[in-house]
Symmetry: C2
Subunit: 208 residues, 2 copies
């Protein structure tokens, strides 16, 4: 062929593929999404696709490490660092998610949870990569509860298991919201979670 205006842009092509794949994996699922569909949506040739990602597994790993990881970082870990205490951050995060979902009309669910659910049974390597993200999430949440305890903001809490509970609530509420296509579960869970954390954050000495 004659030399048309093609330009090599390996980083850009890779980014387009990973972005498109991330979108599709979160919305439809990893298994339900075909390589051809990603190629077409990303406007990438089969050769370029094979060059950057020789197998679907490699693309899945890249999506997990480059996108899902950052999504959790932005959605959870950074707000946790910014807010004064864990309950404030949690309430803010739930509020943001609900606010984003309300006008959108459809609930696609938590990226981390979605990926974990249909990838975990099939690929140990992806499962471990997702496990690392869960661990980072849990670690950040747990550390915040621990800090609240140390600073006297909170009392009578067990940071680690409470962090697990919060993650479970968020993941579960997201799953319900996705299944029923309704943010109601998130709204209710947010209120209940705030109510159950409140007494632990009252500025009272435990007995006196």
């Amino acid at each position: 062929m004659i030399g048309n205006g093609r330009t090599n842009d390996p980083q850009g092509v890779r980014r387009r593929i990973v972005d498109t794949a991330y979108d599709a994996f979160v919305k439809q699922g990893y298994i339900a999404t075909g390589m051809l569909e990603i190629r077409e949506k990303a406007s990438v040739s089969g050769g370029a696709m094979a060059h950057h990602f020789p197998a679907k597994r490699a693309l899945g790993l890249a999506v997990i490490r480059d996108r899902v990881s950052h999504a959790v970082q932005q959605t959870w870990i950074e707000p946790l660092d910014r807010c004064v205490d864990a309950p404030a951050a949690i309430d803010l995060i739930f509020g943001d998610i609900i606010g984003e979902l309300a006008p959108k009309g459809s609930v696609s669910g938590c990226p981390l949870n979605n990926m974990a659910m249909d990838v975990s049974p099939h690929d140990p390597e992806m499962r471990l990569a997702l496990g690392d993200i869960f661990a980072a999430w849990h670690g950040a949440l747990s550390a915040k509860f621990q800090a609240d305890l140390a600073s006297g903001r909170a009392s009578n809490i067990q940071p680690s298991s409470l962090a697990t509970l919060v993650i479970a609530i968020y993941s579960g509420a997201m799953a319900m919201a996705k299944a029923r296509q309704d943010v109601g579960a998130l709204v209710e869970s947010r209120a209940e979670l705030a109510a159950l954390l409140a007494p632990k954050y009252r500025r009272v000495t435990p007995a006196g």
Copy 2:
């Protein structure tokens, strides 16, 4: 072919197909499971399969309505009816699940949640069928909390949103357990859930 010892057993064949499909759908996912795989595991010919379930969707619907529904009924709704109050039932249920999972070595997750996660985005009819099960689950849990409130066992709770929270915790903890292949999330969530329900079930009059 010569007439070998074949016997028509429509109910039995159908049951074998649905049982096998239920197992596979829960363990590997609906999309990840092929019709051929189910046929082979259930020892059913393609003709028999097509006769009972002309399309995969029909099999999915049957699994949801005949198996997933009963699983939730047995695991959650019946224990709720048997126990004195909601916290007792919840703790019993979590304990049973943890006890069953511990020796098994692998965590396949909550059947309802697993099905909902990879089917909801693709098939509205299945999504609605799963939504009905969620509604029944929520209804039973909510009714129990309401009864506890009426009988004076509990105080200061909102049955409906608290039921949503419990379902979210269970689903989320199951998802974490599946993702990490570790029952730890269930154990921790069980303890935290019991601890947060306890103060509501103290036999104290709210103010004096």
